[in-house]
Subunit: 324 residues, 2 copies
């Protein structure tokens, strides 16, 4: 059994990261509290460097590479947010980065990855293996592969968001009862559970609820018959042993939300929170607004995990939610 990531691992990551990440605030919305009957504190990681929590894990992983071993650069595969996190971390540390991205990745994510100086290599999500492509590039260049979630340093880095949230809430004299975390491969979710030490509910889009089902079944189950989803950041087909072990260790459970519920959450974030949140980053808010988790009378920390949304998708969500 793979060792889970524990609170101490996250504390070590926080010390290593220092001031590199944005210490994102905790935001409360009386309108949201009134709608779901709880006290909700949102952790807006869309305001993190590169627009998602992914910078935390990437930077933690890259900082752990000894300076003399950084010459070969790094390789990562990602639909977009991990790509940007790795590209930015590499640029800040003066390392070369190559990112393997699906040909249908959101345009904004591709452009922003390139803007941080990374080389982008495309692949076909249905017929090619991104892991194989990344491995061959890594071998040819002597580069280190930075996986999106199946790595203890990545998970611990993401978990610093949970550590911060709990500390900032304590400074306001409050204590949370529950964490709600957006979940693709479980890197943020596992890290957040470890860093916050809170009972954790992970949220996935319907059709990609493999982590929900895996946690319920007690063993890893893959996504079956994946359809289209606007939550491009959460299209992971199978979680890793280490994220499974970490979430299990912390007793996490999961819920899923519909595409319409996600659109409503994206629109709510614009109107009430003044935040641009991408669909995959808004699944927790979607679960709260749709009453998928009973938070009545409870104090909850919920992640908004990213904000890299194409303007056209934002417009679609606003229209579908009746906000236009």
């Amino acid at each position: 059994m793979t060792s889970p990531v524990l609170h101490d691992d996250v504390a070590i990551a926080a010390a290593r990261l220092g001031h590199w990440p944005v210490r994102t605030p905790l935001l409360n919305s009386p309108a949201l509290d009134a709608l779901c009957g709880g006290r909700i504190w949102l952790k807006p990681e869309n305001l993190q460097h590169t627009g998602s929590f992914k910078f935390r894990g990437a930077m933690n992983r890259l900082l752990a590479i000894p300076a003399e071993a950084r010459g070969g650069g790094v390789v990562a595969y990602s639909s977009g947010n991990h790509a940007q996190g790795v590209a930015r971390a590499a640029r800040l540390l003066g390392m070369a980065a190559t990112i393997v991205m699906p040909a249908d990745a959101p345009k904004l994510k591709v452009e922003r990855t390139r803007a941080d100086g990374a080389e982008v290599v495309f692949y076909d999500r249905l017929t090619e293996s991104r892991e194989t492509i990344a491995a061959s590039i890594a071998e040819a260049r002597g580069a280190l592969i930075v996986p999106p979630f199946a790595d203890p340093l990545i998970i611990a880095g993401q978990g610093t968001a949970g550590l911060e949230a709990v500390a900032d809430l304590a400074a306001m004299g409050e204590t949370a009862d529950l964490a709600l975390v957006c979940c693709g491969g479980g890197g943020l979710a596992g890290g957040f559970a470890a860093g916050s030490q809170l009972p954790t509910v992970i949220v996935e889009p319907e059709g990609y609820d493999d982590v929900c089902r895996s946690l319920a079944a007690g063993h890893i189950l893959p996504v079956e018959n994946p359809g289209p989803t606007r939550c491009d950041a959460l299209q992971t087909l199978r979680m890793a042993e280490i994220t499974f072990a970490t979430l299990r260790h912390h007793g996490a459970t999961g819920v899923a939300v519909s595409e319409a519920e996600v659109a409503r959450a994206v629109a709510f974030a614009v109107r009430e929170l003044k935040l641009v949140v991408e669909p995959g980053g808004a699944v927790t808010l979607a679960a709260l607004l749709a009453g998928r988790v009973d938070v009545a009378g409870r104090c909850v920390i919920a992640t908004l995990s990213g904000g890299n949304i194409d303007a056209a998708v934002l417009l679609d969500c606003l229209r579908e939610a009746g906000a236009l």
Copy 2:
């Protein structure tokens, strides 16, 4: 001559306000830095309670009312952001609030003011005096008038944003050379100059650049022939003696931006900052993107003062800026 608001007044306001306001973070965008050649720290007051900095001043003013004198409630006049700030502060302190708003105020601002329990009374911006209406309501109800900017406690409260920004920057080991502040009647601008003790450049929309002209002339000049602007929050027709005195005391100067530059800034905030910023709250960003202020090699704190924008206006800005 009216006494200016000084740094000590802002420090007293910060102590009185305590944890009531959101301590909004400082956000940096490498894309913005690259475009304007400086190091820019944005203070996103669109994430403040009620979606603008106005909560700071309103709460500071209301907290200064002795508990035994709160029974008559408060009256305010505002196109929307001050309305919401006063309504929220009153609700939190258990006071009744009546807000006099122009009949053409953005729908979102009216709805959100009512959502905080305030009574809204409409007036015609071109034919009626909001001051007269507010005064008659105040007299009939024994209520206190809370002006939008012509009040030392309001200005000092807004200034706590500047105090926070400078302290948070110092904690990161940096010092700013300049503050750029969105300006309507000059409450935030004056307070920010006092709180930050930085050389301050105020930014106004073209056609409403009366503060720019007043500071240059050395005496108060009103807006002349005001036309339509999407910066509804900055349509003040004449600044007050106290905001003029405060800005003059701190040596502020001003620049103006066009409607197209504002649209570009609103779109940039969505794409690069993941923030929903209203037109009037984006004028500083507009000035930076348009090169209206020379910030080459300088460290700048710039306010994003509010985010209460109707979805349709947001869409217009995205379209006009070519983001859709």
